[in-house]
Subunit: 270 residues, 2 copies
């Protein structure tokens, strides 16, 4: 399978690119086409908006590419997502798109457009401890649809988002329909008061309230709250679920880490 | 004038309370009723939700109180705002409510309910360098409607919000109608990439796009962005204004500082 790697947010490290190329070569079933745009750098981003958009549009329109794998998160895919989704070429619809974190802006918009997307590890994750297993999990889904790499409790249509990304896409043209899905969220490097505030925002949404359940992935690297917030992240999420009438579905096996699992988004037909 | 002080977010420092009491006493035109709830502490908050809500509802319903002055920001007024606004007693409507930062959740909801609110300095600000002038500015508006304390370029109906608070109240029951107003924003202690992301979110809103102009107050204590973001906060805001078709109205004289000025929200009748 030919998989294109582009970086709609921040640059991919050369070392990560080399290591995922080696993993793909060893598998024998995967050809990784790492777009040179992945290594561009302009301020915070992997090149200017126009360069990131052009690379993404290019691989989306390339009928020899069967999957698009977002290189890493960071920040910035939202800046080009709406333009990337305009007048989708037919070839863009026959692929799977994978990523997480900031790439959630694109997953949301692509899913809304009826395209196949999945939350899952990204090439830059190979640099994490245990990262080889993470990227192998991603490739096992993209190439072989190996269900053993899926989040283990996906017993109904699901979507997964970083909580802050979810909050920032509500009300934008990228917002998908959450009706009846299990909505999996995770977070990294936030204070608990921010998580509480974001949960207030997200659970006020009528669309989010239409979700079947809200499930909480890992909340990593919680930044110090001065004073101590008083309750932990699970209690915060359960509290806002109770306030908003969204059933809390317990914990989920996703997060900003090498254990992160794959969550294919509910298809429109399901 | 009898002004009640309550703390819907975080606790007021005793030293701040004493200093604003002294300022009020010296004026001779102001009686400050600092509610004991201001000094409660539970985790992040000035007491549990129920205690903060009860104190707020109490002063709202007190017909001897002519204004309600929020003690300080921090985080937490959103947790009680919807309940505070339910079945508003008649006495709640005949007052002015003042605050900024996290108190913006209440300002938004109260304004939406047709009540008189103003962005302006809060009691805890007295502890800032130059803070005596700040709280005097607030009192000069509440007590004497002294127009010299207003943001100097209010030439049409206006509202003011902390940018992150604005983002988090969109889509909630607190969201007011921005049609035709000058929307003033400010920010504190955020990275530029977060400001960019929040501007993406806020300017995607059809309601915000109905504002007459967006004006940028001070953006203080910008946290390090690694790598450097590339453009500054004014360029970020101008960029999102251009993308979304909202006229950029230049800078505004508000912020998380002792120079912060008063912005009475547009009345429904105006």
């Amino acid at each position: 399978m030919r998989i294109a790697v582009v970086a709609p947010s921040c640059p991919l490290k050369r070392e990560a690119a080399a290591r995922v190329q080696a993993i793909a070569a060893e598998r024998g079933d995967t050809e990784l086409a790492i777009h040179p745009q992945c290594f561009l750098s302009e301020g915070h981003f992997a090149g200017p908006d126009q360069a990131r958009l052009q690379a993404l549009r290019e691989v989306m329109a390339d009928s020899s590419v069967e999957a698009v794998w977002f290189a890493r998160g960071g920040y910035g895919s939202n800046r080009i997502a709406e333009a990337a989704l305009a007048d989708l070429p037919a070839a863009a619809r026959g692929k799977t798109y994978m990523g997480y974190s900031d790439a959630g802006f694109l997953l949301a918009g692509l899913h809304k457009a009826g395209v196949d997307v999945a939350w899952g590890p990204m090439p830059q994750d190979v640099l994490r401890s245990g990262g080889e297993a993470a990227v192998t999990r991603a490739l096992d889904w993209l190439v072989r649809r190996d269900r053993s790499v899926l989040e283990p409790a996906l017993d109904r249509p699901a979507m997964a988002f970083n909580l802050t990304v979810l909050s920032n896409l509500l009300g934008t043209p990228l917002e998908p329909d959450f009706t009846g899905v299990d909505l999996l969220i995770e977070e990294v490097s936030e204070q608990l008061y921010r998580i509480d505030r974001t949960m207030f925002h997200v659970t006020a949404s009528a669309n989010v309230r239409g979700a079947a359940r809200l499930r909480l992935g890992r909340v990593a690297d919680i930044l110090a709250n001065d004073p101590e917030f008083g309750i932990d992240e699970a209690a915060i999420v359960e509290d806002w679920c109770a306030r908003s009438g969204i059933p809390f579905g317990g914990r989920a096996d996703i997060g900003h880490d090498a254990q992160n699992r794959v969550v294919p988004f509910a298809r429109r037909s399901s």
